[in-house]
Every structure is written in structure tokens, then in C-alpha cells.
């Protein structure tokens, strides 16, 4: 299962974090710092999966932004790797060319999108238009 999803920038600042296993607040910062260091220090030649303690990190870099997903060993790495891509594509579709700022200013929308895709550490929806359905509904309400 998926343990957490993080979005961090190259300066190591967390832009989004979502935990599916309870982690104490005090430990989150430490965990995020280690995870970021782990991914930032790796070069392009190295593979996108890193073993960390008893779970694995799957990460993908988009310009200055990293998306890092912590998973248990039983999870399929490549499917998670593509899940990240799918997630970013959804964000891209919604924000039309997503940037770090979009994520910061619209944290609630990003959370809605993530909640539609992953619940309780499992993938629930991968269809882009269905993922965006609730947000579209909200925007309609706001317009109307």
C-alpha cells in the first residue's frame, strides 16, 4: 500500500504532504527532510526507486518539483511511478500547465484531486475526467 505522498521542491520545502499511515507531526518534518535528501542526492542515471528503512520510495522529478511516494514492498513500483505521472497530468489538465505556485495557492483543490485518486493508501480512480468531477462541480457552483 501507499504510505505517503509528498510534493517537495528543490529547496526541500514541502508543498503537499498526505499520510496514509499515522505519523506524528514531530516526525513528519524529520521524515520529509530525509526523504528529500535521499531523492535530491540522486542523479539521473540512478533508478527511481530507493529503499528506505522498511519501505520504498518511488519518485519522479518535474522541473524543480519532486513527487515522492512511500510504498510498502508489496506494491508494484512501476505502477506507482506511472501513478505519479497520471496525478501530475491531472493537475496539468486542471490548472492548464501546473506550476509550483498553483499547488501552493490551491492546496484544497490539489487535496481533492489526490483524495479522488488515492484513498487509504490504495488507488481508487485513474480516469482523469472522473477524478476531476467533484472539482468541476465546485467550479460550476462558484460560477453559477
Amino acid at each position: 500500500m501507499i504510505k505517503f505522498v509528498l510534493m517537495v521542491n528543490q529547496q526541500g520545502q514541502t508543498r503537499l504532504s498526505k499520510y496514509y499511515d499515522p505519523v506524528e507531526l514531530s516526525r513528519r518534518a524529520a521524515l520529509e527532510a530525509v526523504v528529500v535528501r535521499c531523492c535530491l542526492s540522486r542523479s539521473k542515471h540512478e533508478c527511481s526507486f530507493v529503499e528506505y528503512n522498511d519501505f520504498k520510495l518511488v519518485y519522479r522529478q518535474y522541473a524543480a518539483l519532486y513527487v515522492v511516494v512511500g510504498i510498502t514492498h508489496s506494491e508494484n513500483e512501476l505502477s506507482i511511478y506511472e501513478l505519479i505521472q497520471n496525478f501530475v497530468e491531472v493537475l496539468d489538465k486542471y490548472f492548464s500547465r501546473v506550476s509550483e505556485l498553483d499547488i501552493m495557492f490551491n492546496l484544497d483543490s490539489v487535496h481533492i484531486i489526490l483524495d479522488e485518486m488515492i484513498q487509504n493508501g490504495h488507488i481508487v480512480e485513474t480516469n482523469k475526467s472522473r477524478i476531476l468531477a467533484p472539482l468541476t462541480a465546485i467550479d460550476k457552483m462558484a460560477d453559477g
Binding site: 504510505k3 514541502t14 508543498r15 503537499l16 504532504s17 498526505k18 499515522p22 505519523v23 506524528e24 516526525r27 513528519r28 518534518a29 524529520a30 521524515l31 542515471h45 540512478e46 533508478c47 527511481s48 526507486f49 530507493v50 528503512n53 522498511d54 519501505f55 508494484n76 513500483e77 512501476l78 505502477s79 511511478y81 506511472e82 501513478l83 505521472q85 497520471n86 486542471y94 490548472f95 505556485l101 498553483d102 495557492f105 490551491n106 492546496l107 484544497d108 483543490s109 487535496h111 481533492i112 483524495d115 484513498q119 487509504n120 490504495h122 488507488i123 481508487v124 480512480e125 485513474t126 480516469n127 482523469k128 476531476l132 468541476t136 462541480a137 465546485i138 467550479d139 457552483m141 460560477d143
Partner: protein, 960 residues
């Protein structure tokens, strides 16, 4: 898509975020945040009622601040208020805040539950989804109790919207994880299985996750899911991609769902029904075929998605391990990936091939890739890939290629990354032993190992080489010669000195005929290393010297001179000094016959599983919660190393004695005639009160029961169900039955010393049938695991009818704690999986060391600990008859020393002790005053730490 304006209309929020972004320093950021927090706080506290919009804005800000890593201790109430708003956006923010910030034991849960209940009843699918997400995210016990019956109903109801079904499935999964007892299997399970047939792929995706998890726990309930999953999978893999348009990802049909279905199938053995089986085989073949077809898109996403499915299919093929044809095809496919230009694929291929190597059908096929794997070890630029290559070499090793693989691993070790060195050392040691045709090769390999990577050679490795040399006559002479040569090196690793000292002490006579390695030369060589070694090694060398006196009477004088020197006889270290004194006396007064008997060659060790293998298994099989506390992860990343050596070093300060304890199997009584060890201190009578870690004198009440009859010891009250009841009985004793049902009896015997403990757990099979797949794990919650570490040694997966197996747990108290770890036991009895959880009686007081002190000292310290938070007092009614002797025994069992004549009232008890934890020691004083007339006790505890006083008082007050 509507254009989204930055900040979505909430200007205040946008300004705040921009401000934060513009902060030049961390201090400025903190300052800005504190200002904002103060502002929000005053708004929330103000008299003016806030409208929904403002509440939403402020809650949003809090969320943002939280994300920056600041604790948010208010605003929860406002968020809860938002839940009852009718506006979707406000409700949504409320739920978001609660999902992210409210932990499961918040006292707001009741209010939140109320809001959830309303939303679930609203029949508005978006509201229902929000509510279900919230349950899935928070998932507390109270929530589970409130909604456990409701959610399965929503999930299987015919008129539920698809998206609600999805949320309900995942919500149920969460509740099943946190409170499985509240979700009984029932009529709904059959209907859940049929969701696999649902028209909507989103629903199928969610249902597959749910079923796969539930099926692991109760496979029989969900057996029917196999045929449905195969059918569904077959439809996906054979479909033209346009059929599933919305779920097609870069021309791959529903990749995530396929992966999940394949994973679900891995919960079961291959289908027995022939038609179903051939349909599944067909699917798997199709997936393998697709890998060979030209890609439908050049995009990497296409091939990744395709390969995700492929790897999962290969995992299923390996899991079934029944179709040789498929296994070999899988192996060939992975072989192609080994040379792929994508690092990710090479990594995954190595990993996957590792499991493939263990199948008899494909082992040979895997072996053909040995050259590629070796070159990966040499050329890969990524340490994690190299690590996988090492794993694979280990897995593919057999008699035919062991020499090549061991040689390659040894040469890689010279340049290997620090983080994986220890593991490679273990692997080389295991392979060398397992495939040794002649043991001279084995000895050479291990000595090379010590030479190349001495620091990473753990105790187990060199213990093992000694076990083997002692047990095999044919290699002893060679071993002596080889270590002698190795020791000639001007700088050699201390581990080599240990091995050398031990082996020459035992078998030096075998090479003494050669003038180049005459007794005196051997002794001088060993002694030249003496001063550079640590105390434990020196102690071992002293033992080797006394053995020399027996082997070579001609060097007796020289050795006696060495023992007699001030640096030995007056050594500051008590162990060295004691050895020197004892050995010197022994050599002076004992006759040759006595010497020969006392210092006879070590008897062979009982055959048993290699402790190295056990260690490697432990390294690999850790599945405790992630230890996110990184203070111990050192720069070179070899924290495992540090931890493991601590676990091993349970008694390392007992030096040589410890060595023999490890060598002689700890799980059976020491042979009484074992006179000829390297530790004469043991045979020379009770000089040390603590010669044997198996005989810690901490349990006056339980008598000296042998390990074997630990059960007969408590035949008295037939214990029934409920392990909780037994738990308190273990506060003042260490042995007994902790759990018993119709099938299984679990007995414990434990010993503690300072902050370390060892618990022997005995699992007795009471039935006339075998227990299969027997496995255990010890779990602690996050808080506890940072205070107490419990390492379980592996346990036999099979318990014969009527038999008993033993497991050893090593325990270390890091700092004071109050909860107890849980032992989870799982086994298969007559086809059904049994799960048992037992709270292990590891309490803080186990780490007591009794302290005797005079009455004057006692009062002085009592006064020093006079601060109000240091004292805890409790007055309570006696539960049992008030008997002085019983109370005394209990207090001694609790771990304190009883001090006589301190309290003016002789009826009162006064005790003292020290709690040892790794980080600190906490001195404890206690006083127990019985009042027989009122049948009451008053218990007063004073310690230097409040939490310790509290916990000890809790524990002890329930014993009377």
C-alpha cells in the same frame, strides 16, 4: 475547464502565502506565521460571529501553516462547524482540515461523527463521499463503532452511486485495518466479490483493493473472487484498447486495475479448475507476448505502464511456481531487461529474478545470466542496483558456481559501498559455508573476509568459523596454519586476532612441529598483538595463553611471567585482572593431569542452524513500523550494523564467557562435563555471581525450574481465554504460562539484567495435528518502539503435534516506557488460519537492579527526592490476604532490594532499586505501609523521574 485564478478568490489567503514566500529567513517566516496565528485566534475568539466564507479562509490558512510544519492547536472547532455548512466548498474545507489534522483520539470525534451521520443520510453523493473519505482518513475506534454496520450496507446497496461505492470500499478497508473485530464477515462479503463484475472500472479498482486485503486474512471467504478476477483480467488484456477508453493510459488498457487483479490472484494457489486455469495461463501468455510486440507509442509512459503489468504477471507466475514453461519465459524476459538502458527496468529485473532463482523450474535459466549480473555489480552507477545484483548472485548461487560467485563478491567487497558491506559479508560467509566442498576453501574465504572488511564482520561470522573448525577434525591443522600465517601481517584486524587466538589456543599444537611456528613463536606472535586489542579480545588471549600452558609445557615459564606482570595482575579492568590471577594460580598449583582435564580441547558444538543465517534473515525480514527517528542513522547509513551489534552484545562485557555461551547452543542446558572451554572461570566454581545469563537471580518466587519443564511449573490454575488476565501476574515473576487455549499454550521464561533482557517463549502444540506456517512477530506502537526494542529470533515454521518450540526475544530498554509490546502469532491449523495476539509482560520494573543501602543513606536520598512531581502515592484496598511473607516475595519479585531496619515500624516495607535504561538510570525508593485493620495499603514511590514513579506505582499497586 474553467480558468483558475490564483488564490481562487480568497485574497487574504493569497496575500498570506505570498508573504511567506517572500520571507528571506526562517525567523522572518516564523514571525509572519505567529502574527497570522494571533490574528486568526483573535478572529475565532471575537464576539462577532464569522460567516462561512471567513471561517473557510482562516481554516485554509491554518492548513497551510500546518503544512509548513507548525503545530496547530486551535481551529478544530471552527472546522467542525464548517462540516454542517450547506455549501460544498465550506464543507469540503472542514473535512479536509479534519482529515489532515485531527488524530484518531481527539475528543471532537463525537461531533464529527454527528456531521458524518447527517451527510451519509443526505443521499447527496458528493456529501456522502466527503463523509466516507473522512472516515477512511481518520478511522478511529469511535468512528468504526458508529459506522461499522452502515458502510457494508452502502457498499452493496443496489442504488448507491458508483463514486460512493468506491469511497465506501476503501472506507471499509480502513475500518477493517483498524478495528477488524467490528466488521464481521457476513452476507455482504459474497456481494462484495461480485463488485468485480461491476460495469464501472473505478468500482472494480476500489473493490479489488478491498478484496485483496480481506482475502489475505480470510482466504476461504473470498475464494470465489479468483474466477471473477481471472475473467475480468482476461477481458482487459484481450480487449482492444479503445473498449476501455477512459481507463486506457498511453494505449495500455487499465494498467493499475490489471496490477491489482494480478496481486489479488497472488493470495491464492493456482486455480484447480482446468478451464479457469487455462484461461489464466492464456492471460499471462498474452501479457508476456505483448512485451515482445513493437510498442504502440514511443512514450516512456506507455512502456512503463505495460511493464508494470508485466512485472506483476511475472510475480504471479513465480507465486504459482507450477508452469515451467511460463517460468522460463519470464526468466528470459527479465534477462532482456537486465541489459535495458532504463535503470528502473534493470533494477526491477534483478529484484524479480531473485525470487525466480528459488524456483526449481527456473533456477537453471536464471543461472545463465550470471555474467550479466556480475558485470552489473561492477558497472552499475547506482548503489541500489548493485545491491540487487548482490542479492541475485546470492540467490542464484549453488554448488556449480559458488566459487566464482564468492570470489566476485569478495572482490566487490573491496570497493563496496559502506551501506551494504555488512550484508555482503554475511552473504559471503553463508555461501562459503553452504557450498564448501573442502573446508580449507571455507577457512581461506572467511579469513579473506576478515582481512578485506574486518569492521563489517560481525560476531556471528567469526563464532561460526570457530564452530566449524572445532567440529571438523580435517580442517583444524590447516586452520591453525592459515591463521598463523595471516597473523604475520604487520596490521591485522582485531577479529582476526580473536579467531587466531582461539584457534591457536585449541589447535596450535598441530603446527608446533614446524620450527617456524614453534610454541614460543606462536606465543610471541599472539602476544605482539595483545596491547593493541580491546579488553574482550585481551581476555580471550589470556584464555588462549592458559591453554598454551597445557599444550606446551615448555613455554609455561614465559607465560607465567607475562601473567605475573603488573599490567596483568593489577590491570584496571577487573575481568582481565581476575583472569590473570586465576590463570596464574591455576598454572602454579594444578598438576599436569588437572590442567589437561580443565583445559582440554573444546567438545564439538551441537549442529544447528547457522547464527549468520538467522542474522541475515533478521536483517531482511524487519517489518516493524518505519523508524522515522533518524538520530541513529549514521553518515554512512549503516545503522543496521549498530543495532545488530547491540542486540548481539547482550553480555559482551562478560567477554570470553559470552563467547562460549554463544557458541554452545543457548537453547539447551550446558553440558555439565564441559570442562574444557576457553573460560575456566566458569569451571572454577562460583567466583562470579553471574556466570550464566540463563541463571539470573531475579525471580525468587518462581523457583529454579529447568527450561524444559517451564510448563509443569504452573500446572495449578487451568488458565482460560484472555491473555490480558495473565499479564498482571507477570509483574512480580518472570516465568509462567501467558496464554492458553484449546490449541496452543504459550509459556515464558525471562531474564533481565540492567537494561537488557532475554525472553524464552515456548509454544506448545496441544493438538494431535501439526501447526503449519507458524510465524510470530512482535509489534510495538510508535511511541513504545522508541522506548523499548524487542528483537525476535526466527522460529520454526512447523510445530509437530504435541511438540514444543522455543523462540528467543532479545529486549532492550532504551528509556522508560509504560505500554507493553504485543506478540502476534499466526499459524495454520487444519486449514484455518489462527491469529493470536498476546500482550508480552515486559514492564518497566523488569529493568530494576536492587540496591542495598544503609538507613542513613536511604533517608538522605528520600529527602533529596522531595519534589512533589517525584513522589507518587496511592492508598488502596487489599485485594488479597495481607500476608507479610507474600508481600515480601512480591516486592523482591518486583525487583527492589528490601531494606530491613530502615522504617521505625517493622510492619512497613522499604525498598530501593535502580531502573536501568539505555539512556539513563533512575533511582527508585519505595515504601509500603500495610494497615491490617482497615485492610488497606499505602504505597509511596519516589524516583528522580515523574513518569517512572507513576508507572511503577501503577504496576505495583495492583499486586496486593
Amino acid at each position: 475547464m474553467p480558468a483558475v485564478s490564483k488564490g481562487d478568490g480568497m485574497r487574504g489567503l493569497a496575500v498570506f502565502i505570498s508573504d511567506i514566500r517572500n520571507c528571506k529567513s526562517k525567523e522572518a517566516e516564523v514571525k509572519r506565521i505567529n502574527k497570522e496565528l494571533a490574528n486568526i485566534r483573535s478572529k475565532f475568539k471575537g464576539d462577532k460571529a464569522l460567516d462561512g466564507y471567513s471561517k473557510k479562509k482562516y481554516v485554509c490558512k491554518l492548513l497551510f501553516i500546518f503544512l509548513l510544519g507548525h503545530d496547530i492547536d486551535f481551529g478544530h472547532m471552527e472546522a467542525v462547524n464548517l462540516l454542517s455548512s450547506n455549501k460544498y466548498t465550506e464543507k469540503q474545507i472542514g473535512y479536509l482540515f479534519i482529515s489532515v489534522l485531527v488524530n484518531s483520539n481527539s475528543d471532537l470525534i463525537r461531533l464529527i461523527n454527528n456531521a458524518i451521520k447527517n451527510d451519509l443520510a443526505s443521499r447527496n453523493s458528493t456529501f456522502m463521499n466527503l463523509a466516507l473519505h473522512c472516515i477512511a482518513n481518520v478511522g478511529s475506534r469511535e468512528m468504526a463503532e458508529a459506522f461499522a454496520s452502515e458502510i457494508p450496507r452502502i457498499l452493496v446497496a443496489g442504488d448507491t452511486m458508483d463514486s460512493v461505492k468506491q469511497s465506501a470500499a476503501l472506507c471499509l478497508l480502513r475500518l477493517n485495518r483498524t478495528s477488524p473485530d467490528l466488521i464481521p464477515m457476513g452476507e455482504w462479503t459474497a456481494r462484495v466479490v461480485h463488485l468485480l463484475n461491476d460495469q464501472h472500472l473505478g468500482v472494480v479498482t476500489a473493490a479489488t483493493s478491498l478484496i485483496a486485503t480481506l482475502a489475505q486474512k480470510s482466504p476461504d471467504e473470498f475464494k470465489t473472487s479468483v474466477s471473477l478476477a481471472v475473467a475480468r483480467l482476461s477481458r482487459i488484456v484481450t480487449s482492444a484498447s479503445i473498449d476501455l477508453q477512459d481507463y486506457t493510459y498511453y494505449f495500455v488498457a487499465a494498467p493499475w486495475l490489471s496490477v491489482k487483479l494480478l496481486r489479488l490472484l497472488q493470495c491464492y494457489p493456482p486455480p484447480e479448475d482446468a478451464a479457469l486455469r487455462s484461461r489464466l495461463t492464456e492471460c499471462l501468455e498474452t501479457i508476456l507476448n505483448k512485451a515482445q510486440e513493437p510498442p504502440k507509442s514511443k512514450k516512456v509512459q506507455h512502456s512503463n505502464a505495460k511493464n508494470a503489468v508485466l512485472f506483476e504477471a511475472i510475480a504471479l507466475i513465480i507465486h504459482h511456481d507450477s508452469e515451467p514453461n511460463l517460468l522460463v519465459r519470464a526468466c528470459n524476459q527479465l534477462g532482456q531487461f537486465l541489459q535495458h538502458r532504463e535503470t528502473n527496468l534493470r533494477y526491477l529485473a534483478l529484484e524479480s529474478m531473485c525470487t525466480l532463482a528459488s524456483s526449481e523450474f527456473s533456477h537453471e535459466a536464471v543461472k545463465t545470466h550470471i555474467e550479466t549480473v556480475i558485470s552489473a555489480l561492477k558497472t552499475e552507477r547506482d548503489v541500489s542496483v548493485r545491491q540487487r545484483a548482490v542479492d541475485l548472485l546470492y540467490a542464484m548461487c549453488d554448488r556449480s558456481n559458488s566459487k566464482q560467485i564468492v570470489a566476485e563478491m569478495l572482490s566487490y567487497l573491496e570497493t563496496a559501498d559502506y551501506s551494504i558491506r555488512e550484508e555482503i559479508v554475511l552473504k559471503v560467509a553463508i555461501l562459503a559455508e553452504k557450498y564448501a566442498v573442502d573446508y580449507t576453501w571455507y577457512v581461506d574465504t572467511i579469513l579473506n573476509l576478515i582481512r578485506i572488511a574486518g569492521d563489517y564482520v560481525s560476531e556471528e561470522v567469526w563464532y561460526r568459523v570457530i564452530q566449524i573448525v572445532i567440529n571438523r577434525d580435517d580442517v583444524q591443522g590447516y586452520a591453525a596454519k592459515t591463521v598463523f600465517e595471516a597473523l604475520q601481517a604487520p596490521a591485522c584486524h582485531e577479529n582476526l586476532v580473536k579467531v587466531g587466538g582461539y584457534i591457536l589456543g585449541e589447535f596450535g599444537n598441530l603446527i608446533a612441529g614446524d620450527p617456524r611456528s614453534s610454541p614460543l613463536v606462536q606465543f610471541d606472535l599472539l602476544h605482539s598483538k595483545f596491547h593493541l586489542c580491546s579488553v574482550p579480545t585481551r581476555a580471550l588471549l589470556l584464555s588462549a595463553y592458559i591453554k598454551f600452558i597445557n599444550l606446551f609445557p615448555e613455554v609455561k615459564g614465559t607465560i607465567q611471567d607475562v601473567l605475573r606482570s603488573d599490567s596483568q595482575l593489577r590491570n584496571a579492568d577487573v575481568e582481565l585482572q581476575q583472569r590473570a590471577v586465576e590463570y596464574l594460580r591455576l598454572s602454579c598449583i594444578a598438576s599436569t593431569d588437572i590442567l589437561a582435564t580443565v583445559l582440554e580441547e573444546m567438545p564439538p558444538f551441537p549442529e544447528r542452524e547457522s547464527s549468520i543465517l538467522a542474522k541475515l534473515k533478521k536483517k531482511k525480514g524487519s517489518s516493524k513500523l518505519p523508524d522515522l527517528d533518524d538520530s541513529r542513522r549514521t553518515v554512512n547509513g549503516s545503522s543496521e550494523h549498530a543495532e545488530d551489534t547491540e542486540a548481539v552484545n547482550i553480555n559482551v562485557n562478560q567477554t570470553c564467557r559470552f563467547l562460549t555461551e554463544e557458541l554452545i547452543s543457548t537453547d539447551r542446558p550446558h553440558p555439565t562435563s564441559c570442562s574444557a572451554t576457553m573460560l575456566p572461570t566458569r569451571t572454577m566454581g562460583p567466583i562470579h555471581t553471574s556466570t550464566d545469563i540463563l541463571n539470573l537471580n531475579s525471580t525468587p518466587s518462581s523457583g529454579a525450574s529447568l527450561l524444559v519443564d517451564v510448563f509443569s511449573d504452573m500446572a495449578n490454575p487451568a488458565p482460560t481465554e484472555g491473555s490480558e488476565d495473565h499479564f498482571p501476574r507477570f509483574v512480580c515473576k518472570n516465568n509462567g504460562v501467558i496464554y492458553e487455549n484449546q490449541l496452543l499454550q504459550i509459556g515464558l521464561k525471562s531474564e533481565y539484567r540492567q537494561n537488557l533482557g532475554r525472553m524464552y517463549v515456548f509454544y506448545g502444540n496441544k493438538t494431535s495435528t501439526q501447526f503449519l506456517s507458524f510465524s510470530t512477530s512482535v509489534t510495538s506502537d510508535i511511541v513504545l518502539s522508541s522506548h523499548l526494542s524487542v528483537q525476535a529470533k526466527p522460529v520454526d515454521p512447523l510445530i509437530e503435534a504435541g511438540a514444543q518450540v522455543q523462540q528467543i526475544l532479545n529486549i532492550e530498554c532504551v528509556s522508560d516506557f509504560s505500554d507493553a509490546p504485543v506478540l502476534n502469532i499466526q499459524f495454520r491449523y487444519g486449514g484455518t488460519l489462527q491469529n493470536i495476539a498476546v500482550k508480552l509482560p515486559v514492564m518497566l520494573n523488569k529493568f530494576f537492579q536492587p540496591t542495598e543501602m544503609a538507613s542513613q543513606d536511604f533517608f538522605q536520598r528520600w529527602k533529596q527526592l522531595g519534589a512533589p512531581q517525584q513522589e507518587v502515592q496511592k492508598i488502596f484496598k487489599a485485594q488479597n490476604q495481607m500476608d507479610t511473607d507474600v508481600a515480601k516475595a512480591k516486592l523482591l519479585g518486583f525487583g527492589v532490594a528490601l531494606l530491613d531496619g530502615v522504617d521505625p515500624n517493622p510492619a512497613n516495607f522499604v525498598g530501593a532499586g535502580i531502573i536501568h535504561t539505555k539512556t539513563t538510570q533512575v533511582g527508585c525508593l519505595l515504601r509500603l505501609e500495610p494497615n491490617t485493620q482497615a485492610q488497606m495499603y499505602r504505597l509511596t514511590l519516589r524516583t528522580s523521574k515523574e513518569s517512572v514513579s507513576q508507572r511503577l506505582c501503577e504496576l505495583l499497586s495492583e499486586q496486593f
